[in-house]
Symmetry: C2
Subunit: 351 residues, 2 copies
């Protein structure tokens, strides 16, 4: 697709050979793909009675990932999971991925292959087909931009806008693990050594949290289920911490919310890590981390059916609050039973 | 969409304010857009009886553009035109654009606004709606990745694969202008001064060629016309010079081709520039430049109707060769009537 006017030999990688190898390796035939990699663009068939979802994410080396703490495969996996999660948060079925990749002059063909391997490892369980992309040399670090398409039946997409006063607030899975994993990866080595002597934080917990950070799970099945049963009035995926993402729902739905801090689901690993580092695990859940769990609202009428169906499906859901009128703002109910205004402490966007 | 784990203040720009401002400014309502910027992803409606086209392009500072020779608006315009041109080469109607942008720490809000202004200036004539994107800080230069969607009636997409032996080879517009414009922009100042004294190369021609490089026209109307009348058996847009893009058609269609070098349409400005710099203008057309004209093949039976209809529509087309069996390879018929193997001299992909 994009070309360049710089004459050749801009990197150690022969672009055309690389694209051909990657497309042969990763572009499985999917019924919706009329034409994949190898033409001016991709051609896909839409399904009658469905809307098309599109989401794009940009990851930059040094900003979103660090090659000292993540492998190329991890980076590819996480980039794909982030986009799959956006589709999940809309209740959709992810279908296709396009990859724009800028490769540093020092980048190797093997690194690119690893990146794709990780990306496709996240995509494969969802039968997401690689249908296109573009590569370029980078004068700086690695840049990766993924576009993922999805589909959802007409009028069944979940938005941030549908929460209503009286709705219950739910999350899937456990929150805070990703930020804990990130912090572990970025601890100075001395700290790690010290902790291994003095603090009861097991290697198994450590691995769990790092895994949750580097290889997050997009809640695709849960999102489709919420949409198919019309359980959710609004939904978002957690990429800014609960505090940041709840704020998105409040702003877009023009409502307020009360968050029950004691109800926030925390993993044993996250609790153990927080205890060993003298941190409040609720802070980890509120303030950051890309957990890619779903945060959604459910009407009181639907609540019993939701809870029953979740048990049948084996989905892990927790009710963590309630929707209030806008003037209520965002308030936190502490474990001591006191209320306070929920401070805006997400790592980004609002800082 | 993508977030980051780096705490705040990573650039002088407040991401959320910026996205809100840009989306308010540029996201016009289009009937196909169910949900644009502001949710986890965009939602679009597909049109019954149509296929969806998707194309993505990555532009990196220092590789694809240089802020010393192009304004931010030029860069945005050219990025959009490149993607629109991919849709045009498939015979489609461009519909939506998603923008992933990495902004250097030194980047300003005003630069981002200019970039979007240029991008939307290219999109507006085609009623292409901005429906999503992602921004990030860059530790290096600017990176811009656009994804454009389009639609085309079922089975009417133009591919690189349909050329048949006996077909005629056509191009729209004039070729070589973009590379000439690029060369002018990159001439050392001394050269420019000297040329203004010694060589008959007018300021008007200079401006024309620079404009063709920085603000290329995607041939959307021509592509739709080729598809609607089933005139073209294959098509591609010229982003690697005729030699490189004809090679794509030959490889994908498993055919050979003869290119009549004397027939290649050259603008007076390109001829004048080449003469003043003692260059062969045909070389400029063959070897590089992102002219974004369409290169396509037409069956002998359709040729009279194509020529007649082009006159009626006011489209500028030139027949520049003929399709041969694969064993013929790619040959050039020189202006002296001699044949030679067409060397592979495109600036990229194959070097």
């Amino acid at each position: 697709m994009a070309s360049t006017l710089r004459p050749k030999a801009r990197s150690t990688i022969r672009e055309f050979d690389l694209i051909r190898a990657l497309s042969q390796k990763h572009s499985r035939r999917a019924p919706s793909v009329i034409r994949g990699i190898g033409d001016d663009g991709a051609v896909i068939a839409s399904q009658a009675g469905h809307w098309i979802l599109l989401t794009t994410d940009l990851l930059a080396e040094g900003i979103h990932f660090d090659l000292r703490t993540a492998t190329m495969a991890d980076i590819g996996f996480r980039a794909a999971a982030a986009n799959l999660s956006d589709i999940a948060a809309m209740g959709g079925t992810p279908q296709h991925v396009l990859v724009a990749l800028a490769i540093p002059r020092s980048g190797t063909s093997s690194q690119v292959h690893q990146l794709y391997r990780g990306m496709m490892a996240a995509c494969r369980p969802h039968h997401v087909a690689l249908i296109g992309g573009d590569t370029s040399t980078s004068d700086g670090g690695w840049f990766l931009s993924l576009t993922v398409t999805g589909m959802v039946p007409h009028r069944r997409a979940l938005f941030r806008t549908g929460a209503r006063v009286g709705d219950y607030l739910y999350v899937t899975g456990t929150i805070g693990d990703s930020l804990a994993g990130f912090k572990i990866l970025n601890e100075p080595p001395s700290r790690t050594n010290r902790s291994s002597h003095h603090e009861a934080f097991s290697a198994r917990h450590r691995q769990f949290l790092i895994g949750r950070h580097l290889r997050p799970t997009a809640r695709v099945a849960e999102g489709k289920w919420l949409s198919a049963h019309r359980f959710a009035t609004s939904a978002i995926d957690i990429s800014d911490g609960i505090s940041g993402d709840l704020r998105h729902i409040c702003e877009e739905s023009h409502i307020g919310a009360e968050l029950d801090l004691g109800a926030i689901p925390l993993s044993p690993a996250c609790r153990s890590y927080a205890a060993s580092r003298k941190l409040d695990p609720v802070d980890l859940a509120l303030t950051g981390g890309e957990d890619y769990e779903l945060l959604f609202t459910v009407s009181p009428r639907q609540r019993p059916r939701l809870e029953q169906s979740a048990i049948e499906q084996g989905f892990s859901l927790t009710c963590i609050g309630r929707i209030h009128p806008r003037r209520f703002g965002m308030q936190a109910l502490s474990t001591h039973g006191t209320r306070h205004r929920l401070a805006n402490r997400s790592y980004e966007h609002f800082t």
